[in-house]
Symmetry: C2
Subunit: 346 residues, 2 copies
């Protein structure tokens, strides 16, 4: 503890509202009012109270307050990983939108597993959040049940779940990847490869792969060469290894699409290292439009996703539901934008 921690002398206890009240010569209720913006308290007493607050170093105990007011001021958000800049952007969108609403974020991450998500959802619900934001539409049955009986608004993001729990803010990963294939096919590429992870843990990754396969078929192109490499989310390094494997097995591949910009970046850098020219010898495209995509050399063709906007809009919907302004539109699905960004690599 900071400074001397001399036992539990009363002086050393964290002060309560009652301590402040006594010092200011008022009741606890008046202190409570003075500490809210809307509280009707005379300026004189408010001043005395604030002085007492300062002298004692008093900080409101919101746990106690929310028990009484039946509003915790918490909003929960669950993302796959904090170490992925796309999801970090979403988290920032949520936080920014929450600013000045008095709502505080409880953030957790699942490591891309539904089991961790379930645990996390329970841990969060124990804090009685007033709303919750999830990533994706794949949850355990138990998680779904808990969410349904929690009686709070739920927003699923980053995908378009076939069976939404409540509200949705996202886009079709399948369509977005298909759009990338079509765009590149129009540029003349015909022999497509796809680099992604080995399991379906990352549901968005699976959807992108499905979109790839579907688009290739629809365009009547030669069957796509699918390379699975590493447990999702696959890293920069794995992207490099995967592209090498792809070129060994299918040396005539014209363009490799990667499940995310990280693997695409790894693929690009590994090719440069080996003297393989991009896009002449092989073109490469990513997904997500991470910051590096615009600045690496060659710059990376990719699909830009409105990560920040997903967070912002999800939080906005949640706030509307919480404040009771949702006018029965709560089941509305908000589609977020995506677009192919054509740069040098493909």
């Amino acid at each position: 503890m900071p400074k001397e921690l001399n036992a539990k002398s009363p002086e050393n206890q964290v002060p309560t509202m009652l301590d402040v009240a006594r010092r200011a010569g008022v009741s606890a209720m008046t202190v409570s009012r003075a500490l809210k913006k809307d509280g009707r308290v005379s300026d004189a007493t408010r001043e005395r109270i604030l002085a007492a607050v300062n002298e004692l170093g008093y900080v409101l105990d919101q746990s106690a307050g929310s028990l009484s007011s039946r509003k915790t001021g918490f909003v929960a958000a669950i993302i796959p990983s904090i170490n992925n800049s796309n999801f970090a952007d979403t988290a920032r969108g949520i936080t920014d939108e929450l600013e000045n609403t008095g709502l505080q974020l409880l953030l957790g991450y699942t490591d891309y597993t539904a089991e961790k998500e379930e645990k996390l959802i329970e841990a969060m619900l124990r804090r009685r959040p007033e709303g919750i934001i999830l990533t994706g539409g794949t949850h355990t049955d138990h998680a779904r049940r808990m969410l349904e009986s929690a009686g709070i608004p739920v927003v699923e993001t980053w995908e378009l779940p076939p069976k939404p729990i409540d509200q949705v803010v996202g886009f079709s990963n399948e369509e977005a990847m298909a759009l990338l294939v079509r765009t590149l096919a129009r540029k003349g590429y015909r022999k497509f490869g796809y680099i992604g992870g080995t399991t379906s843990r990352d549901t968005r990754g699976s959807q992108r792969r499905a979109g790839f396969v579907k688009a290739i078929e629809e365009l009547g192109l030669p069957p796509g060469r699918l390379v699975s490499f590493g447990v999702p989310p696959i890293s920069i390094e794995q992207g490099g290894q995967a592209v090498v494997g792809m070129l060994e097995r299918w040396p005539d591949t014209e363009v490799a699409l990667c499940v995310s910009d990280l693997s695409a970046f790894g693929a690009v850098m590994e090719c440069k290292r080996r003297g393989i020219r991009i896009p002449q010898d092989i073109a490469i495209a990513g997904f997500g439009d991470f910051e590096i995509a615009a600045y690496c050399h060659p710059t990376l063709t990719t699909v830009n996703v409105d990560c920040y906007g997903i967070g912002k809009q999800a939080a906005r919907k949640l706030i509307q539901s919480i404040k009771g302004e949702d006018n029965g539109l709560s089941q509305e699905i908000i589609l977020t934008s995506y677009r192919v960004v054509e740069r040098e690599s493909a």
Copy 2:
């Protein structure tokens, strides 16, 4: 809200422990015991209780519980930004160490300003965390006072504050940057440049710059050419612009050290784009050893910092203090490791 939200019919309310108790034919106290691992309850009643919990979809209300037990189970952590992979790694270290301790993380970010930090600290203290982890040693006076009167363990990280509040887990950014200078001087570089942000908002950045200047002086090298560009944290793009500016003003610069890998990466890529050879025409080094540093082309010489370990050790110290196992060692300062990683760019 999920499913039908038919007014406030009692059926639709979130069940309390009493509801579970009634359904299982026991008292609320017995339910409380059954839901802890250490509770002494007969297997028969526990089973009945767990069945009731399941049927009702009951989830413990921890806010209420912690009010009574006087333990919130919260730990607060404040980092400059969630969108910086170094700090995201620290956050992950904290979370990993917290797993299975029953402690839950309250995460906030300051955008590198002491004012936001102060607000955040107050917001967190309102939740009565059992401990708090901060980044750096620069805080407002009010923040220091609040922390001191909160009566909880505090860990400052990522730096070595001259006046620590309580515990410290970090390293000297000054020394780390000086080490980089000495290492590169030994390789023969003599004309050093430094690229960093324009303000001292990023205290670690300022310390690195100070370490740069000091080391140059100590080695008796020609004065370092300091380029300030952009409000910290400076981006990939700004790193590219800054190196261009540096080469215009001081074309004979042999090596440019950057405040972080992001700006260094931007500098490297911009040079490649302009056909400037690295390291022959100019060498570049970064700081932080981000994932891209190892995989970009050319690979980036940088200073590796144990970001994850900082988080892990900070959380470990906090847990020890909270569980009361700190044996009076609480003022101990834990130094985390750093090392220069020599790669291709310098």
